[in-house]
């Protein structure tokens, strides 16, 4: 490891490179995560009791989730809703990604990509806040629907999970479009033409030629979207109500309201396990390796 770096960069630079990587990987990535897991298996104690006889490993913090039905329900809802957000985002994004990669002229595609990047550069809070205005009880959407006579009285969009789902699809759509676009773009257009000339319909062409080629992109998009949705705090806290809490909000409360960091760490680790599980599942379904992801 060192000899290869030394041969290219000289020993002092090689030491510097390895040192920086070690500080980052150990001090910021590995050890904090391990400590969080360690925390999650210990009880919440007074500072004087830490290291004492009560400070033993247990599964107590994990049992809390299964004995607290409200938390369990929110946990399952968060997983289910994040899957839903991922599927919805994929359905909305695929045609756009395909259009940009294969239908649009290079000029059109460049212009559309620029347009796409603008909301992407604006932060998540503002993107969500924009929907907060639209979906408000006395907001423009209700005003428009009332004016058109579609509804008789305003709908409370912000009191259920509906607002959260809409906000999330909007907030994370670009994380789905870009990987799929990159994947489809690398497909040789002649392959699409060949499939068409050989008599395949559009649906079959997509199903048998384009989607198989775009698999790594679709997998990356799904993983990113699910992870962002399940781990989102901004969207549910702005567009949700007390009745539609997200699992991240429960975690936050353990840290800053309940004051039980050990319990919070256990919940955080559960969230992480779900995300890792989802990544593994997607990689299995799409038969892609870790190397194909996030290219």
């Amino acid at each position: 490891m060192f000899s290869q770096l030394k041969a290219r960069f000289g020993s002092s630079l090689a030491v510097g490179i390895l040192g920086m990587i070690a500080i980052w990987l150990l001090g910021m990535v590995i050890l904090p995560q391990l400590l969080m897991v360690d925390y999650s298996f210990r009880p919440n104690l007074f500072p004087s009791e830490i290291g004492g006889p009560k400070d033993v490993y247990s599964l107590g913090n994990y049992e809390t989730l299964f004995s607290n039905l409200i938390h369990l329900k929110i946990f399952l809802k968060t997983i289910w809703s994040s899957v839903l957000v991922t599927v919805l985002t994929l359905l909305v994004s695929y045609p756009i990604a395909f259009y940009l990669a294969k239908v649009a002229t290079p000029r059109q595609a460049a212009f559309c990509l620029l347009l796409l990047v603008i909301p992407f550069w604006i932060n998540e809070i503002l993107r969500t806040f924009a929907w907060y205005i639209i979906l408000a009880y006395k907001g423009p959407l209700n005003a428009m629907l009332l004016g058109m006579g579609v509804i008789d009285r305003p709908i409370r969009f912000l009191s259920g999970d509906g607002g959260v789902l809409i906000g999330m699809v909007y907030a994370y759509i670009l994380f789905m479009i870009f990987p799929i676009y990159n994947a489809i773009e690398s497909l040789d257009t002649n392959q699409v033409k060949a499939a068409r000339n050989l008599g395949a319909g559009w649906i079959r062409t997509h199903w048998r030629v384009i989607i198989p080629h775009a698999k790594p992109g679709i997998a990356t998009g799904c993983i990113m979207t699910f992870m962002l949705a399940a781990g989102s705090y901004a969207v549910p806290s702005l567009l949700g109500s007390p009745g539609s809490r997200w699992f991240t909000q429960i975690i936050y409360n353990w840290f800053f309201e309940g004051g039980d960091w050990n319990q919070g760490a256990a919940y955080a680790f559960l969230l992480l396990i779900i995300c890792i599980g989802f990544i593994a599942l997607v990689m299995r379904i799409f038969k892609v390796g870790l190397g194909d992801i996030a290219k």
Partner: protein
């Protein structure tokens, strides 16, 4: 052939609807800034006003939060960019067992939910009696922003022709000179855009920052707290300013890119 035309038109229609969906929220948010209403909305329209801009300018807490955000973003830039470059250099040089594992490890912060990055940083530094604040925010954000930098630098590094290095070395340059005069100038464009992305990522981060900020509220956290308590169209004014800056930057970037393209083809 007719179904082809129909397909083309339906996809165009879909694209139109999609961009409408993408921009309507931002336009409505912008318009609400100018509505003379205590609560930000566009319906009903109560008349044109610019008072929310002056309300924003007089908001001392907002300026303070902006200042904190800038300090944090600069801190992240200083730490995350060198780390990212080192990782990219390492990955492009090292061949052997464990490379895939190390690559996955370096990628893992990007696949970890932001709240967990914040939580693990908070817990880790509690052991050193460091509590939330600017420093911890910089550390937590660096954890995943360094990975972004790594990816961007690595993408350019993979197209680098290593015979250039060998030529320099055989012509008598030291390894340091080769790095300084050959590789670094080659990487410069990627480093600059990675630095831009790192700054932006830091500036707009919410989920991670929320757990490690302590009492040092960044601008994004400030906006979120305003939306939930004490929401007035001044928040829209702030949003509008940020959107305008974004649009201007995007246009400048596009013009620059087109010029470069022209100069390359012409």
């Amino acid at each position: 052939m007719r179904s082809e035309t129909m397909l083309r038109w339906s996809i165009r229609f879909y694209i139109g609807v999609f961009f409408l969906y993408l921009f309507t929220p931002l336009i409505i948010m912008g318009l609400a800034t100018f509505n003379d209403s205590r609560f930000p909305t566009v319906s009903p329209w109560k008349g044109f006003t610019l008072k929310w801009f002056s309300a924003l300018a007089e908001d001392g807490a907002m300026w303070h939060a902006l200042w904190i955000s800038v300090i944090v973003a600069i801190g992240v830039l200083v730490v995350a960019v060198p780390i990212g470059i080192c990782c990219a250099l390492f990955l492009s040089t090292f061949q052997g067992r464990g490379k895939t594992f190390l690559y996955s490890l370096m990628m893992s912060p990007l696949l970890t939910p932001g709240v967990i990055v914040g939580i693990s940083t908070l817990i880790f530094w509690k052991g050193f009696s460091v509590s939330g604040g600017v420093m911890l925010t910089v550390i937590a954000q660096t954890t995943f922003i360094a990975a972004y930098v790594m990816l961007m630098v690595l993408a350019r590094l993979q197209r680098f022709d290593r015979t250039l290095e060998n030529a320099a070395l055989s012509l008598g340059a030291t390894q340091w000179q080769t790095f300084r005069r050959i590789l670094l100038p080659y990487l410069k464009p990627a480093i600059i855009s990675a630095a831009g992305i790192a700054f932006l990522q830091s500036f707009e981060n919410y989920n991670t920052t929320l757990f490690v900020k302590g009492y040092d509220t960044t601008l994004t956290v400030y906006i979120a707290s305003k939306v939930r308590t004490g929401l007035t169209p001044a928040v829209n004014a702030l949003g509008l300013v940020m959107i305008s800056i974004t649009v201007i930057l995007a246009i400048v970037y596009e013009i620059k890119r087109r010029r470069e393209q022209q100069s390359m083809s012409g």
